[in-house]
Amino acid sequence: MSEFDSAGAVFTRRPKSLAALMEGSAEQARLWRPEELGAIFRHQMAAPVLVDLGGYDAGAAVRLKKLSDAQSLLLKSFSDLFLHPAPPAELLELTKSFAKANMDNAESALPNEVAAALYYTSIAAALVRLDRRISKLGDADLRRGLLWTREQPWLDDPTRELLLQAAEKISPPGGKGAGAP
């Protein structure tokens, strides 16, 4: 048994603590605190790409691993992927899909803010590094998303810079953007 006797503790704690336990142990309760988003994002950027994407789409992950190995790409982490001068588009698209699936899922394992950052950063990397649009979002929505992500206080500087470059590649209303299809 652990040092902390939780079963014994429930007999001595006030109703407020018991209510917090009932509430906090619900699956829909927020897993992480807002002030932890920075640490979670840094962890996400340092996480091995194939660990998360392999769990999300095993078939695609195997293909991508072969692709990465064949091209001798040092894609160990999401950070490596986004900062690579020529990242594989398919890997960026898979990352975007993984992030979107997490954004759309109320029981997502990723905080929505971090999933959104991953989503827009993958789009930004494709725009800036490959001059390619992997999103069907319109210019205004895409720019809004890129800039919203850039403003998150927990974001790191290289990602912030990448998002700014991507936003600048999108044409202002009425103009023509380099990344436009």
Partner: protein, 245 residues
């Protein structure tokens, strides 16, 4: 006076061999339940009938043997499964009142002023009963979850880590009203490969807790629907109490 149930069966005078096989299973289950929830029942009895404090254990034992084992009681309880707690309370209260009436009937008549007075059973005893009941349910849940997670034969990988994550991230901070360990600390402590990995560990813990809570409640509440209603009822009850603090 102890709040613990008797160490042996609370039905010591029962001839189990005389009971049918199905009956035996039912009575054994009730024996287990009453023993598990002895403390809330005793609190309710003493709070409702303070003058019977010294006889509480004996009365509870009589209640368990004479009332619960009485033919038809279990069927009525099953019929009221969603309200098993209320059914127990009402049964116990009626049982004690019946005992008091019988004692009273054997005595010579008293004047009104001489009659012993019991305070009316109000919200107090009932709330105290429900709170102790909830504490008992949570304690059983946590004990069973910990044992389950630490069972080396369990086939789910990282089961031990799941309990540790639940304990240090949720249980201790919530029960001790302290800040949980920061996310960075968890990465090293559990060898987390990514935020998804971290969340999955915590989500698994919550699911295992929920499954055990459901199992503990289903033990007395019965079918899934009644269990769900009971969980909701306990959540609402504790939330109401917490708001009053």
């Amino acid at each position: 006076m102890s709040t613990d149930p008797p160490a042996s069966s609370i039905f010591p005078r029962t001839d189990w061999a005389e009971l049918g096989k199905a009956g035996e299973a039912d009575e054994a289950r009730l024996d287990r339940l009453i023993r598990a929830y002895w403390a809330p029942l005793r609190i309710f009895l003493v709070a409702t009938f303070p003058s019977l404090k010294d006889q509480a254990d004996l009365l509870l034992q009589d209640f368990a043997e004479d009332k619960i084992l009485k033919k038809g009681w279990l069927q009525r309880a099953d019929h009221n499964r969603g309200k098993f707690r209320d059914f127990l309370k009402t049964s116990l209260r009626n049982f004690v009142l019946d005992r008091l009436n019988r004692v009273e009937a054997r005595r010579p008549p008293l004047s009104l002023d001489e009659m012993p007075r019991e305070p009316a059973a109000a919200e107090g005893p009932s709330e105290e009963f429900d709170l102790t009941w909830l504490r008992t349910v949570l304690a059983r849940t946590l004990r069973e979850m910990e044992e389950d997670c630490k069972n080396p034969s369990a086939d789910q990988p990282r089961r031990g880590q799941i309990w540790e994550m639940f304990r240090i991230r949720l249980l201790e901070p919530l029960l001790n009203d302290t800040a949980p360990p920061p996310y960075e600390e968890l990465i090293g402590r559990f060898g987390l490969r990514s935020p998804t990995d971290a969340s999955n560990l915590l989500l698994s813990a919550k699911r295992i807790f929920k499954a055990h809570l459901g199992r503990v409640i289903q033990d007395y509440a019965g079918q899934d629907a009644a269990t769900a209603v009971e969980i909701q009822s306990l959540e609402e009850f504790i939330s109401r109490l917490a708001k009053r603090e």
